[in-house]
Symmetry: C2
Subunit: 461 residues, 2 copies
Amino acid sequence: MNNYTEYIQTHKTRFIDELLELLRIPSVSTDPAFKEHVFKAAEFIKGQLDKIGADKAQVCQTDGYPIVYAEKIIDPELPTVLVYGHYDVQPADPLELWDSPPFEPVIKNDKIYARGACDDKGQMYMHLKAFETMIQTDNLPCNVKFMIEGEEEAGSESLATFVKNNKERLAADVILISDTSMLGNETPSITMGLRGLSYMEVEVTGPNRDLHSGMYGGAVANPINVLCQMIASLTDENHHITIPGFYDDVEDAPEAEREGMRKAPFDLELYKKKLDIAEVQGEKGYSTLERTSIRPTLDVNGIWGGYTGEGAKTVIASKAYAKISMRLVPNQDWYKISELFQKHFEAIAPPSVKVKVTRHHGGQPVVTPIDSVAFKAASAAFKDTFGKEPIPLRGGGSIPIVSMFKSELGLDSVLLGFGLDSDAIHSPNEHYGIFNYMKGIETIPLFYNHYAKLMREELVS
Amino acid sequence: MNNYTEYIQTHKTRFIDELLELLRIPSVSTDPAFKEHVFKAAEFIKGQLDKIGADKAQVCQTDGYPIVYAEKIIDPELPTVLVYGHYDVQPADPLELWDSPPFEPVIKNDKIYARGACDDKGQMYMHLKAFETMIQTDNLPCNVKFMIEGEEEAGSESLATFVKNNKERLAADVILISDTSMLGNETPSITMGLRGLSYMEVEVTGPNRDLHSGMYGGAVANPINVLCQMIASLTDENHHITIPGFYDDVEDAPEAEREGMRKAPFDLELYKKKLDIAEVQGEKGYSTLERTSIRPTLDVNGIWGGYTGEGAKTVIASKAYAKISMRLVPNQDWYKISELFQKHFEAIAPPSVKVKVTRHHGGQPVVTPIDSVAFKAASAAFKDTFGKEPIPLRGGGSIPIVSMFKSELGLDSVLLGFGLDSDAIHSPNEHYGIFNYMKGIETIPLFYNHYAKLMREELVS
């Protein structure tokens, strides 16, 4: 490959400025108040794809937010890479915990601070700039298709329909996604597994109206107390989940993988120090790395009920609510787990309250093959730019669409992530290192190159 | 007594209109946003006291909200009644559950709907109208002093200082308070006991920032889950409170009182139906009436943490909060109970989190003597207007200042309450029956009359 690194260095400032422009669009997909901005972000991506020489760039309308599609077919005989990413972001609240406004990106200590800086605008935009670089330096060795959606943080509902209806247009050899993280900038790793997700909301209703806690306290079930008891009972003293059947389908991770995790560089003291916690806490019999990758979990993501303002109000609330999500591992099925949760939660409710369980969204857990051509190409690309063989690792998060791509398109995904766990995605002060952004733009063309070469070799052999 | 009932009937419309005017002032004492309105309510009361012929009416400034004082000393030889009430109200939220705006009173089905309609503006204002009636019809048989405060819903902090500094001015024979309820309009009762209160707020801190629940879930203690477990552990399967030492000072109610409660008219099915609950729930071994009067309780009044907006956010919150209050019975001491709570809550926190416990306010439980002249006078007055002997009952709520009056001024209080438990005080759609408002205005002059007569007889005997 010729002068592509020089091109990247020459245009570095512009590459960053364009990302900042994208980050200024508050494209929060879960909150209808941001609707117009989500559409605006789609138009921005479409415009950029046009500009860098992709063909047939189009904002494809759906029942929800649009999917931006574009392609560059240079030779039907060459392999095709389908790039997936998302232009929507998580809500920014609690706003008061941000050091600078979430949608006014700032650069501090060589990091870009903004909602979406890493997840996924920063990581997704690397692919546009890598593509531009390959085109401009005459280094594009594969066909490319882009599919950038706007509902990833809200469950990717429209994407499934889009994929079903566009199988021919989306035909490819592999899917390339940058939406995960590495162990560290000195310790490159590639995610080869992702946890699934089942996200539920529960409502506990006691009396039909808020009551005075003096007049009724002690005789009427308090829905907040009851909700706390129900939630507490969902895990036992060893932090096992108590929902009957929950672990039935869990496939234990291979001993070799656990052995590898034990050897992976991980500093527990530093981990605790960075989070300012005295102790970690999790399922008995597993290490911290294992607890966040090969084991399922249950977390309350939000809880509310009663009086939450300043001062004191002596009230027994009529209702209490919680958002509860479970991370799943192979071979758990999120539909089944959601049903088990619902049945169990309804079953443990005392007769003094009513409960309502609703399902938000979910996704299947996946493990991608590490002996595939694509994974080998990714490893080789990382080795070129980081100077080290990357460690294959399972990530704790969920990208539900990976299993959908497999079932609908028959394609494996390569998770070429350049974020760090400390990037505070989904949290106040989300950021993305400029080192990581630029490293991504450098590594992606190498992936294309290795992939094209390995595919050619495979064809010959 | 001559034509006083005629005077009340003649002026009924105005008596109601004046109360509506007072109810239009949103005097929420716990929320600083309503500050000017709380002051305005004090001025309103002061103006009315002037108008109806009370002397020395004064808005007495304090470190918090003012106390309105006025008096009518007709003869130093006559007994003096000190009337206590409050012009502040509870917060009105959740606003969306009100059928009409909380500070725009409406009359429906002979009931006045507004925040404070019963607690305590309606009940307190009866005393001003009863006083006016006695003055206008030449029926005032006692000296009267008024002390109307503005921080009852916020812990009455300034009142204690005011009482300490004004012992001479407040010298009286008995304190008269209308801030409690009766069993029913056909079943008059007088509250002879009140529960105490200890109101705490807790904060549980896990990691130093909100985390992505996929990347950290399973390895880091989730403060919401931990808070739920801690709250759940505060009561056992029999709904006993598990805080060590909590029941040590509880004085069991006399068997005769429990026997009386068993005979009091109470329809459990109707109670459940009105609240739309399938079952009541409470401490094993006690009836519903006992659970809400002679037994202590623990209720979560509010809980919050994490993402509570629309949709789903996969976050592990850094912090979770709850407001927790305990109702106390004789001889529990609220200072001691608050300390026991704090120690216990800190002790049960797992090492993976930090907890902070703060105290809102509290008050001592009280039982007032039912063989006193004042209680007898109250019983006689009720019998006159309701045609039935009132049942002496303990109330479940707390009026912390009753025990403070006893210790600072050496005075017992008579709780001449005309509300109903169904008035939805502290809840949306609080209301007060016009029957009850007018019955109070009729009964109060009779209390004065009986009290003066019984005091004369006692002096003679």
